[in-house]
């Protein structure tokens, strides 16, 4: 069964868009690490990292990065694994496993963000 009945071109469109968005938002994330009046190392100290979670805009940014990277990364993994074997069982299993892993990572990451931000 095709992934969520999407055509491969639609999946690849999502793949490319999430890739571009991930680069954009990760760049903003890194700029925040080096442009907040403190050194890069200082910005990674525990209390500074936790402080980020109390800024709602930063929480949204982190959630977006999590979603974009998970979709892009797990679809990339699916593409690599699809080329290993060519049979229906393998393709369906890989698609289901990768989709489940992607949902799992997003769910666990979202849980961490929610706990960290004390929403």
């Amino acid at each position: 069964m095709p992934l969520l009945k999407l055509r491969e071109s639609q999946i690849m469109k999502i793949h490319y868009l999430t890739g571009i968005c991930a680069v954009f938002f990760v760049a903003i994330h890194i700029l925040f690490r080096i442009g907040m009046g403190m050194s890069f190392n200082e910005s990674l100290e525990f209390h500074n990292v936790v402080a980020n979670y109390h800024n709602i805009y930063y929480v949204i940014l982190l959630e977006l990065i999590l979603v974009f990277i998970s979709i892009h990364g797990f679809n990339g993994l699916r593409i690599i694994l699809l080329e290993l074997k060519q049979n229906q069982w393998w393709e369906s299993t890989i698609t289901i496993l990768v989709l489940a892993a992607m949902i799992g990572v997003i769910a666990y990451g979202t849980r961490t963000i929610i706990i960290g931000s004390q929403l």
Binding site: P2, R7, E8, S9, M12, K13, Y16, I79, L82, E83, L84, Q86, E91
Partner: protein, 262 residues
């Protein structure tokens, strides 16, 4: 002076991959010493070895002028047409001939093109036009499509494909994914998509837009670098991807039909 130089001969060593899968013969290389001139091609050298050293040498060839695409093989590590490759341009005393990679092997340098042609056939490589009135088709009337030179330029280079299979053998995706149509079939899909006599785009897109279809091309570009006819399959594939994803529009104006008398 030129005549004297052109008649200069030298000896080279021809190493040819030998095997026969029907006789469970283990693969090995046979070596032949062949006299060559400045213009001797690899195919000439192989036929020389076949005529004077070992008549059992298996080679497929036909036109000897890079038109039929029969004599594709790996020569000194690169897929080439044997009839189109001069020994002198290889700059080597030893010429190694192997069968084309990514093709099932039959015997010696002869490979099986069944799967390759099946991929080609699957993408419906012919003009489909539902606008042609059925009575014109039935009566086999003499009609033709109006096409400008600009319309032809859009697909011309892709129509030079001779189906020699060199691009297919050079493709890293074909090496791992047997369901991938390969650069030849995909560039032909583009060739007919860009042709303004054709309206078969939706059905052709359905065929190539699947799990093992066009999206498995990683744009290595080896297909374009080995093509002996100057076709750029990698370009065709990227243009087709653009159409599929909606970045570029295939805004061709379908050609109109006219009778021969017009």
């Amino acid at each position: 002076m030129w005549i004297r130089m052109s008649e200069e001969t030298k000896k080279i060593k021809l190493k040819v991959y030998r095997t026969n899968y029907n006789k469970e013969e283990s693969p090995h290389y046979d070596e032949f010493d062949v006299s060559v001139k400045r213009w001797t091609t690899v195919l000439d050298a192989l036929l020389d070895a076949k005529s004077y050293s070992d008549s059992s040498l298996g080679i497929r060839y036909s036109c000897r002028m890079a038109s039929c695409g029969s004599c594709g093989m790996k020569i000194n590590g690169r897929p080439r047409l044997a009839c189109y490759t001069k020994i002198s341009e290889l700059n080597d005393q030893t010429i190694v001939c192997d069968p084309l990679p990514n093709f099932p092997r039959i015997r010696d340098l002869v490979t099986d093109f069944t799967e390759f042609f099946a991929h080609h056939k699957k993408i419906e490589p012919y003009i489909q036009n539902e606008r042609v009135p059925i009575d014109v088709v039935k009566n086999d009337d003499l009609v033709e499509f109006k096409q400008t030179p600009e319309d032809v330029d859009k697909y011309l280079q892709f129509s030079y494909c001779i189906k020699c299979g060199l691009c297919y053998s050079a493709c890293p995706t074909v090496a791992t994914d047997t369901k991938f149509p390969g650069p030849q079939a995909l560039s032909q899909a583009y060739r007919y998509t860009a042709d303004n006599r054709d309206t078969g785009e939706p059905s052709r897109f359905n065929i190539i837009d699947e799990r093992h279809g066009i999206w498995r091309c990683h744009f290595a570009g080896s297909c374009s670098s080995v093509c002996p006819k100057g076709v750029d399959p990698a370009l065709g594939i990227q243009l087709l991807k653009g159409h599929l994803i909606g970045i570029t529009k295939n805004d061709k104006k379908i050609a109109t039909l006219r009778s021969k008398e017009e």
